[in-house]
Amino acid sequence: MPLIYFDNAATSRIKPEPVYTALNFYLREIGTSPGRGSYKLSVQASRMLYQSRKTVADFFGISDSSCVYFSKSSTESINLFFYGFLSEGDHVILSCYEHNAVLRPIHNLSVNRGIKYSVLKDEDLYSQDLSRLDKYISPNTKVVAITLASNLTGQLVYRKELGVYFKSKGISVFVDASQGAGKHLINMSKDSVDYLAFTGHKDLMGIPGSGGLCCLSELKVPPLIQGGTGVFGDLYMNPEVYPEAYEAGTLNMPAIWALKAGIGYIRENEEEIRAKEKQLTKLLVEGLTALPNTIVYNAAKPRVPTICFNVRRKKSNEVVQILDRNDICVRGGIHCAILAHQALNTVQSGAVRASLDYNNTPEEINKFLSCIKEIG
């Protein structure tokens, strides 16, 4: 059996054919950058950027495509948002399942800019009694950050009720959709989300080097970096024109065009993808929880096709190594999710994460389960 890739939460490895085609087309037939020329080929690049923005805006349920700000990654977009949006004295609430991409900018701001933050505990996050959220709210709470799905356990974390509740208290809602964006689970307009960060190379099926920030309305904050924007070149600083102000430097347009193709593929094949991933996830979760030598974390929660577990009396790195010898790729350790490991009490042991997508097969899962069984 060839290599089994169960690390799709890190990067989806096998892309849909239209993504390869789009990338190849852009590199070979366009090969220029948007906003950097007024000859036909550069105009075409700018037109393709516009079309890509529209695709992203439509996918996440926002009407104004100029409120999609591209970057190289969700991490960069998250930094753009928090560094620009927060000022000294502001308070932030974040869930205990946030990736370090959210935790670290906020923590850094707490150290260097006088921001304060509170971490929402699991039991309050999932409680139907929303008044339990009140104890986290201060008069200066400006924004709540809730990941769409945990990059560690795969469980869905954001739900509309949370967004509606926080917004009713005058608090903006930020969602890190790095995990789960491609599952088409969220519509910003309908699901009470003000700001959303995404990455292209995971379940949106694009390639590394594309990501962005989506806003329900125009965001006017200081940009993360200064530089060439292709517009208002007479100014000594980035102009207050958006999205250009947030996109200084040359955009990774081949990756953005590939991302557009990835989203197009997802939309065209949404039902089949969802059904296949549901079937595979069920097989994996049920198989893992049935093994006597495993501890599976938050297995009962609704999820994307990612699961987190440990093998009793084994360190996570040992399990990863054994699986690797069997040509199975999974990830162990802390997964850039220290808050989630603290919530699960797995900081010392780490954990093993297996993350699927629709390209995986039941046969691969059966082989994986056999290997885990043999470890114990």
Binding site: P34, G35, R36, G37, S38, V43, S46, R47, L49, Y50, Q51, R53, S65, S66, G230, V231, F232, G233, D234, L235, V241, Y242, P243, E244
Partner: protein, 66 residues
């Protein structure tokens, strides 16, 4: 006649709208003015001037006639 925009995104949005409304337009370099705008703009026949204002109601733009 040139229709000049602040945001490049709006050039293509306007192009899309005008194409739908069957108003012929061409994306061309923005003429050098007293102030820099985005690098490309729309070149449109003067005869379509009123059609532009009707079509692009929700977009910020400036008309330059030469």
């Amino acid at each position: 006649m040139y229709v000049i925009f602040y945001k490049t995104n709006n050039v293509f949005l306007a192009e899309e709208i005008l194409n739908k409304n069957r108003i012929t337009c061409e994306i061309v370099p923005t003429p050098v003015l007293d102030k820099a705008y985005c690098g490309v703009c729309l070149n449109i026949s003067k005869a379509d001037k009123s059609g532009i204002f009707n079509s692009l109601k929700n977009i910020e733009f400036k008309v330059v006639e030469e």
